[in-house]
C-alpha cells in the first residue's frame, strides 16, 4: 500500500518537473512554423482596421500586419486577423493569442513599462479630439462644461478626458462602453453631447453617420496619441522585426521606392536602397549571400523588398487607407516625412 502511494507521488513529481520546464520558442519561429502571422486588429475603425462584407480586411494598421507577413513569410496574405476590443487587446498579446498588435494603440509609459509589452515605434501620430452635434452651438472644447461624453472604456481616451476636465475645472459626465459600436449608437441617439476619441477616429466614424454634416470636430487636440504596433517585451528578435519592417516602409518613401518601382530600384546605385533591398545578395554575383541586412533578425534577403512590393511604402499605405483619395481625406500633417516637415523619421539602414 505504501509502495503504491510512493509510486503515485513519484509519477506526480516527475510530471510536475516536466510542466515547470516548458521551453519558450521565439515568436519568429512560431510564425514560420505556423506559416501565418496572427495579428490583433480593430474590427470597426474605417481606414485603420475593418473587414469588408467578403471578410477581406483593409486599413492602415491592417497593412502593417500585411507588411510584416510579407517580410517574414514572403506573402502579405498569410495573416489571420483577430478582432479585438480596446479592453481585450493587451491581454491577447500578453497571453500569446496574437503575434503582434496593430490596433491604433497609444504608446504610453505605463503600457510600455508595466504590461510586459513594448511599442515598436509610431506608425501614426494622432491626438484626442471632440465631436459634437452642430445644433449644440459649441465652438470650442472649453465650452463643454457640464457635458456628457461618450467614450470607449479601457482607452487612453477615457484617462485624457478625466485629465482634461480636471485641469480646466469643468464638471462632466462620462458614459463608457466596451464596444465602439455602442459608443457611436449612444452618441447618435443623444445619450451624450460629445463623442471623444483620437481625431483620426472622429473623422472616420463621422462618415458612418446618417448625417455627417450635422456634426463638427472641435479644433482642440487634448492629448498626444502616438499610435503604433505592439509586441511582447521578452522577444528582442521579434521586436526588431516589427520595428524595422515599419522603418523600412518610411525609408522606402524617403528614397522614392514604391510598390510599382521596387523591382527597378533593386538596380539602384543608392547604397541605402541597396542595403534595404539586399540588392547585392539577390543580384547576379550573389557574393555577399550571407551578409545582408535583415539576417541579423532572422529574415531572408527579401524582407523589405516583399513588404514594399506587396504592400507599398509608408506614403502609399497612408494614401490608400486614409489619404486625400479616400473618404476620410486626412492630410499627412504630422505624419509627413521629417524631410517634409512631419514627424515620420526612420533611423538609417546601415
Amino acid at each position: 500500500m505504501l509502495n503504491a502511494l510512493k509510486a503515485t507521488l513519484a509519477v506526480s513529481a516527475a510530471a510536475m518537473a516536466l510542466a515547470a520546464s516548458t521551453a519558450q520558442a521565439g515568436t519568429l519561429d512560431d510564425v514560420k512554423a505556423r506559416g501565418q502571422l496572427i495579428c490583433g486588429s480593430n474590427p470597426s475603425l474605417l481606414g485603420f482596421g475593418v473587414p469588408d462584407d467578403q471578410g477581406k480586411w483593409t486599413g492602415f494598421d491592417v497593412d502593417y500586419c500585411r507588411a510584416i507577413a510579407a517580410a517574414v513569410l514572403g506573402d502579405a496574405n498569410k495573416v489571420k486577423f483577430v478582432p479585438l476590443s480596446a479592453k481585450e487587446r493587451f491581454t491577447a498579446l500578453q497571453s500569446s493569442t496574437i503575434d503582434v498588435l496593430a490596433r491604433n494603440s497609444t504608446w504610453t509609459m505605463s503600457r510600455d513599462t508595466q504590461l510586459g509589452l513594448t511599442f515598436a515605434g509610431v506608425n501614426y501620430y494622432d491626438g484626442q479630439g471632440f465631436l459634437v452635434p452642430k445644433k449644440l452651438g459649441v465652438k470650442s472644447a472649453m465650452e463643454l462644461k457640464g457635458a456628457t461624453v461618450c467614450v470607449q472604456s479601457g482607452t487612453t481616451t477615457e484617462l485624457n478626458l478625466a485629465d482634461f476636465f480636471k485641469a480646466n475645472k469643468m464638471d462632466y459626465k462620462v458614459v463608457a462602453f466596451e464596444k465602439n459600436e455602442e459608443v457611436l449608437k449612444a452618441y447618435q441617439e443623444g445619450r451624450c453631447d460629445v463623442y471623444s476619441t483620437d481625431q483620426s477616429g472622429l473623422y472616420a466614424e463621422r462618415l458612418g453617420f446618417t448625417n455627417p454634416d450635422e456634426h463638427i470636430v472641435l479644433p482642440e487636440i487634448i492629448s498626444k496619441e502616438p499610435l503604433g504596433p505592439v509586441v511582447r517585451q521578452n522577444d528582442a528578435q521579434w521586436f526588431n522585426i516589427v520595428k524595422w519592417v515599419s522603418y523600412s516602409l518610411i525609408v522606402a518613401e524617403e528614397f522614392g521606392v514604391t510598390s510599382a518601382n521596387v523591382d527597378d530600384m533593386r538596380k539602384s546605385t543608392n547604397p541605402e536602397i541597396q542595403r534595404m533591398l539586399s540588392a547585392k545578395v539577390t543580384g547576379s554575383d550573389g557574393k555577399d549571400a550571407d551578409n545582408y541586412f535583415g539576417k541579423g533578425m532572422g529574415l531572408g534577403p527579401d524582407w523589405a523588398y516583399s513588404a514594399i512590393k506587396q504592400v507599398g511604402n509608408y506614403g502609399e499605405i497612408f494614401e490608400r487607407n486614409v489619404g486625400q483619395k479616400t473618404k476620410l481625406k486626412i492630410a499627412r500633417g504630422k505624419n509627413a516625412l521629417w524631410s517634409n516637415g512631419g514627424l515620420q523619421y526612420a533611423p538609417p539602414i546601415r
Binding site: 463643454l144 484617462l159 462602453f177 443623444g190 521578452n234
Partner: protein, 397 residues
C-alpha cells in the same frame, strides 16, 4: 444482530492481487485523484508564475492603491478620478449590488403577479401571462438588454426638451432627474422617530395577530403602521424646525445640474433583468401554487374566505415551500446576468474591473477579485434563501 460488511482482505492472502482489497483500492484511487488535483493546481500556479516572470510582471494587489485616473458614470459612494483602483472596484461592487437587489425585488414581484395571473380563470388574463412567459424567456437576455436600452433612450428627448413635471422632475435621455432631499441638523430626530415607528409597527402587527387569534377581532394594522411611519418622522422634522431642503434640478448649459439622477443604463438593465427573470419566477410560482392540493382551496372557500384571502392565507404559504428552492436559483442567475451591464455601459463590477484590468494590466488579480466577489454574492444569496426556506418549512407541532 447487525451485519458486518464482508472484508475481502482474506483474498490477498490467497494470492489475489491488492486490486481486490476494497480498502486499499479505495485508498489508492483517492490518493491518485488527490495527487492529480495537487499536480494540476501546481501546474497552473507554476505556469502562471513562469509566464508572469517572462513578461516581467509580478503578482500582487498593490496596484489597488494607485490612482484610477478615470471617471465613472454613476456611483453610490463618493468617487473621483483621483480615487484609487480599489475605490473604483468598490463603486462597481455597489452598483452590481444595487442592480441585483432591485432586480431581485422587481423580478419577484413580476413573478408572483405573473404566476397568479397564469392560473386565473379569466382566459385573457392567463393568456396574457402565458404569452409573456413564452415570448420573453425565449429571447436571449443580451438582446433584451439592448432592446430596453433603445426603448428607454429612443423616444425620450434631449435634456433641453426634457419632459418637465412642475419644474421638479425631468425625464430626458439623460435619465429621470428628481429633486434631492438634503437634510440639515436635527434631521437625526426624524430618523430616530422613523426607527421608533418601524419598531412600533412590528409590535402592532404581532398584537393584531394575537388579538385576531384570540377574539377574532381585526385591527387595521397595515394602515395604522403606514400612518405612524409617515407621521412620526414628519413630527420629528417639525419639532426640529424643518431641517429639510430640496436640491432642485435645473438646466444649465448642456445638462441638468443638481437633483438626483436615475440613469437610463440602470433603468434598462433593471427592466431587462427583472422582466426576463420574472418569466422563470412566474413558472416557479405557478408550479408552486399548483402543487398545493385543490382541497385546500376548497376548504378555505368552505370556511368563507374570499378567493384573494384563500390565496394569500392558505395557498401561498404552502406553495412557498415548493417555490423557494428554485427561486434561489433564479436570484443567483439574475445576479450573475447583471454582468451583461457592460454591454450598455452601466458601470458594474465587471465593467469597472475591466477598465482597471486594461489600464493596469493586472488580469489575473482582477479576474480573481471578480470570482471571489461573485462567489461570495452567490453563497450569501444561497445562505439567505436556505435560512428563509427553513423558516418557511412545514412546522410540525
Amino acid at each position: 444482530m447487525s451485519e458486518t460488511p464482508i472484508t475481502p482482505t482474506s483474498n490477498t492472502a490467497s494470492g489475489g492481487s491488492w486490486f481486490y482489497n476494497a480498502r486499499l483500492r479505495g485508498f489508492v484511487s483517492q490518493a491518485v485523484v488527490l495527487g492529480l488535483l495537487a499536480w494540476s493546481l501546481y501546474a497552473i500556479v507554476s505556469n502562471t508564475q513562469i509566464n508572469l516572470q517572462r513578461l516581467n510582471q509580478n503578482f500582487g494587489f498593490d496596484f489597488l492603491n494607485k490612482a484610477a485616473n478615470f471617471d465613472i458614470l454613476s456611483s453610490l459612494i463618493s468617487y473621483s478620478s483621483s480615487s484609487n483602483y480599489g475605490r473604483a472596484l468598490l463603486v462597481g461592487f455597489w452598483n452590481t449590488l444595487l442592480v441585483s437587489v432591485s432586480g431581485i425585488l422587481l423580478a419577484t414581484l413580476i413573478g408572483f403577479v405573473g404566476g397568479v395571473m397564469r392560473l386565473s380563470k379569466n382566459a385573457v388574463v392567463s393568456g396574457a401571462a402565458a404569452i409573456y412567459v413564452d415570448f420573453v424567456r425565449s429571447v436571449p437576455l443580451l438582446l433584451q438588454i439592448f432592446m430596453w436600452y433603445a426603448l428607454v433612450l429612443k423616444p425620450l428627448p434631449g435634456p433641453r426638451q426634457a419632459f418637465n413635471f412642475f419644474n421638479c422632475i425631468f425625464i430626458s435621455n439623460r435619465g429621470i432627474i428628481a429633486p434631492r432631499p438634503e437634510f440639515g441638523e436635527g434631521a437625526i430626530w426624524a430618523l430616530a422617530l422613523l426607527i421608533v415607528a418601524l419598531i412600533a409597527s412590528y409590535f402592532l402587527h404581532n398584537y393584531a395577530k394575537q388579538k385576531q387569534a384570540l377574539t377574532g377581532e381585526r385591527i387595521p394594522a397595515g394602515w395604522l403602521s403606514l400612518a405612524m411611519i409617515v407621521a412620526l418622522p414628519a413630527v420629528g422634522l417639525f419639532l426640529a424646525g424643518w431641517p429639510l431642503s430640496w436640491d432642485f434640478p435645473s438646466l444649465t448649459g448642456f445638462n441638468f445640474s443638481g437633483g438626483m439622477t436615475l440613469i437610463p443604463e440602470f433603468l434598462a438593465l433593471l427592466l431587462a433583468l427583472s422582466v426576463y427573470t420574472g418569466t422563470f419566477i412566474t413558472e416557479i410560482v405557478r408550479a408552486g401554487i399548483q402543487s398545493v392540493n385543490k382541497g385546500q382551496t376548497e376548504a378555505s372557500q368552505a370556511l368563507g374566505l374570499e378567493s384573494g384571502q384563500a390565496l394569500r392565507l392558505v395557498v401561498i404559504p404552502q406553495a412557498l415551500r415548493v417555490i423557494i428552492p428554485p427561486l434561489a436559483n433564479q436570484y443567483l442567475n439574475l445576479t450573475k446576468n447583471s454582468t451583461l451591464a457592460i454591454a450598455i455601459g452601466f458601470p458594474d463590477l465587471v465593467a469597472t474591473g475591466g477598465t482597471i484590468l486594461n489600464q493596469s494590466g493586472k488580469a489575473i488579480e482582477i479576474v480573481m477579485i471578480w470570482m471571489v466577489v461573485y462567489l461570495s454574492l452567490s453563497l450569501g444569496t444561497s445562505a439567505f434563501m436556505n435560512w428563509y426556506n427553513s423558516r418557511m418549512k412545514l412546522v410540525t407541532r
